[in-house]
Symmetry: C2
Subunit: 398 residues, 2 copies
């Protein structure tokens, strides 16, 4: 007979999900109520307002999609792009490629601006593509590439979009809560994120936001949105203003309890404090990894603090290392994805998992496992180097 | 400052979500692990096998979609139907209409067989439509209409589909776990359900299953599935057989802990016992409602035990009644949907919520609230009538 499942207690330092704050797990287990219950409607209003805080926006159409980040990407694309619409997509990792898939599956024309994996999106090259495609309606890009650990200049890219009369579609799955995201300040038109990265929430929900210009396009489409489930014209009826909420689909009640708690925690800490914390522990981790002799694939200026792609020492079976970390330390780090598979590890420092304890655990465990495997690294100094960083530098709170 | 949300403790006897078993809420709050963790892969295998049990199928492509039942419907339609494909859709409530929307949004041609709301789907009429549309590829229908409380003859409809060389697409959102669903026995080709009805799980996930014939269509499509997120050709790579699971999207880990626990509970009780329990308490509730003078809109033979659509006494403000039940008794019952809005209440008896305590609470509370409002009902006898039923009849377990 199959019995209840009791998961092992891991430390999650991969590309997400990240360690979930116990407050969030507890919130998730509170009694389920109906999706039209007045108490739930009040909760929805709070979630909306907290999501506006996280995205730094006043956008009315700001809400959580009832499915993971990939569905958030699809929601942005299928609601905005109509057959024949041209979209300039900057790609510098796996997720730019997924944007292309989404655009093409709804009949859009994707014009790709290819950048080397591990580098930030090139603004000059993007501007040339926008110049050469004056009929393009959208500029789409990934703010924080989870496959490589690169942070691109979203502010600069959005300014380019505006200059060439394009609306911007931005993937902030890994950036939200860990790095600055300023939807109104940067003029982002459509943005999606995920709950399982720097919000430290359980996976499964995708916060999204659309500017008034984007909403204008959505409500004036010539064709119906091809997805009924993701059609914002319908979803708005449930998440919109006013007391009368029209049933669309059954909201994932308990997952939204969890998201609410995650956003409350983010607001308690403060956005700027959270960004500073991610930067601080990233520096400590980087100090330790570099002392050990593990190189970053991303130039320092473009590194995403919450996702560290480190090269694998020569001759080392990277999967065996991850297996040993999991079995000996209950520690999960991530493998490389796409063209970086087998070439890097991806070490996450996201949200609740971004703390001193985890930095030291990860460095100590890697040091030990790599030593056992005879890797040519500097052994026994990574933890000390990180501790020195912690002693010298302090995390300033706002 | 926004603070943690503590929901009221309701009794959920609407159209879903239904009361969640505390075992499931507790399972949901267990520590999150990675979506490629070996322990999670093992859990996925158990979920697959338990879902096969619930659906009574050996279908290999049986898995939970990472989004609510509406997305399950969309997954079945967008994976199977290609532009120009003709689908005969039987409609006898809201959800048949939603199937039409889905079919049309992926370029399919919907041929509607309209039945009166509150009646079961007519087999003769369906056969005529299939005869008149010999080029139809699919027959789609709702097994248990949540908007009206009608159970249709899925076995007979699937036999018709087979006779006319159509694949069957079946909505089992409200039937699964509460009424017989026999995917292999009836020859269902594509089926979707929801977690928040008779599985008594939190809302947000949609179990689906596809026959080998359906899989054959999916892998040999001429066009790409229009939804990247729901494309079974890609989802199969993660949920498929073998040790190598390819990342597609991040699975909603904790929601799947909950589904696993819900399915373990269903298996512990046994499918047949669960169906019998739903029938038993439905009879007790019906006895009480009818004693009170509230009529059912559905003929007895077609009634869905887990969803009871009862007419509203003349001159009574139905919304005020629901508000009073919620405020005075923390009891949620459902309003009418679509063309039945304002005409009926929908009283759910689903999964964990289907028990004697809830039947008596609902009858007692309705009796009191309706009396206070001066409704022309027989007061003071509903609870007694239900208790008499419980004394006379016993629930036989297998």
């Amino acid at each position: 007979m199959t019995t209840s499942f009791h998961p092992p207690v891991r430390t999650l330092m991969g590309p997400g999900p990240s360690d979930v704050n116990p407050r969030i797990l507890e919130a998730m287990s509170r009694p389920t109520i109906g999706h039209l219950d007045p108490s739930f409607i009040a909760l929805m209003d709070e979630i909306k307002s907290l999501t506006q805080y996280a995205f730094q926006t006043k956008n009315k159409l700001t809400l959580p999609i009832s499915a993971p980040g990939s569905a958030g990407m699809e929601a942005c694309v299928v609601n905005l792009v109509e057959p024949g619409d041209k979209v300039v997509i900057c790609q510098n990792g796996v997720f730019g490629g997924r944007m292309k898939e989404n655009v093409e599956r709804c009949g859009g024309i994707a014009v790709m601006v290819e950048n080397d994996w591990g580098t930030a999106i090139d603004l000059r090259q993007t501007e040339e593509a926008l110049k050469a495609n004056s009929d393009a309606k959208f500029l789409a890009f990934v703010h924080a590439e989870t496959s490589t650990g690169v942070l691109s200049d979203a502010k600069g890219l959005c300014a380019l979009a505006k200059k060439y009369n394009c609306l911007s579609i931005v993937d902030a799955v890994t950036s939200l809560g860990g790095s600055e995201v300023d939807v109104d300040g940067w003029g982002i038109d459509a943005i999606y994120s995920g709950t399982q990265k720097c919000l430290s929430c359980t996976p499964g929900i995708s916060p999204v936001s659309f500017s008034d210009k984007a909403v204008d396009i959505i409500v004036n489409r010539k064709t119906k949105v091809q997805s009924w489930f993701l059609d914002m014209n319908l979803v708005m009826g449930y998440w919109g203003e006013g007391a009368k909420r029209a049933y669309h689909h059954t909201a994932p009640i308990n997952a939204l309890y969890a998201l609410h708690e995650a956003l409350v925690i983010l607001k308690e800490e403060g956005l700027e404090n959270s960004w500073a914390r991610h930067q601080y522990h990233h520096k400590a981790l980087a100090t330790g990894l570099e002392a050990m002799g593990l190189a970053f694939i991303v130039p320092e200026a473009d590194r995403l603090p919450q996702l560290n792609a480190a090269t694998i020492p020569e001759g080392i079976d990277e999967a065996a290392v991850r297996k040993a970390l999991l079995e000996q330390y209950n520690l999960e780090i991530g493998a490389g994805l796409g063209s970086l598979a087998g070439k890097v590890w991806r070490i996450g420092l996201m949200g609740f998992a971004c703390n001193k304890k985890n930095v030291l655990l990860c460095l100590g465990a890697l040091d030990s496992v790599l030593s056992q495997m005879g890797a040519s690294i500097q052994t026994g100094i990574a933890v000390t180097a990180a501790n020195q960083y912690y002693t010298q530098e302090s995390l300033s709170r706002i």
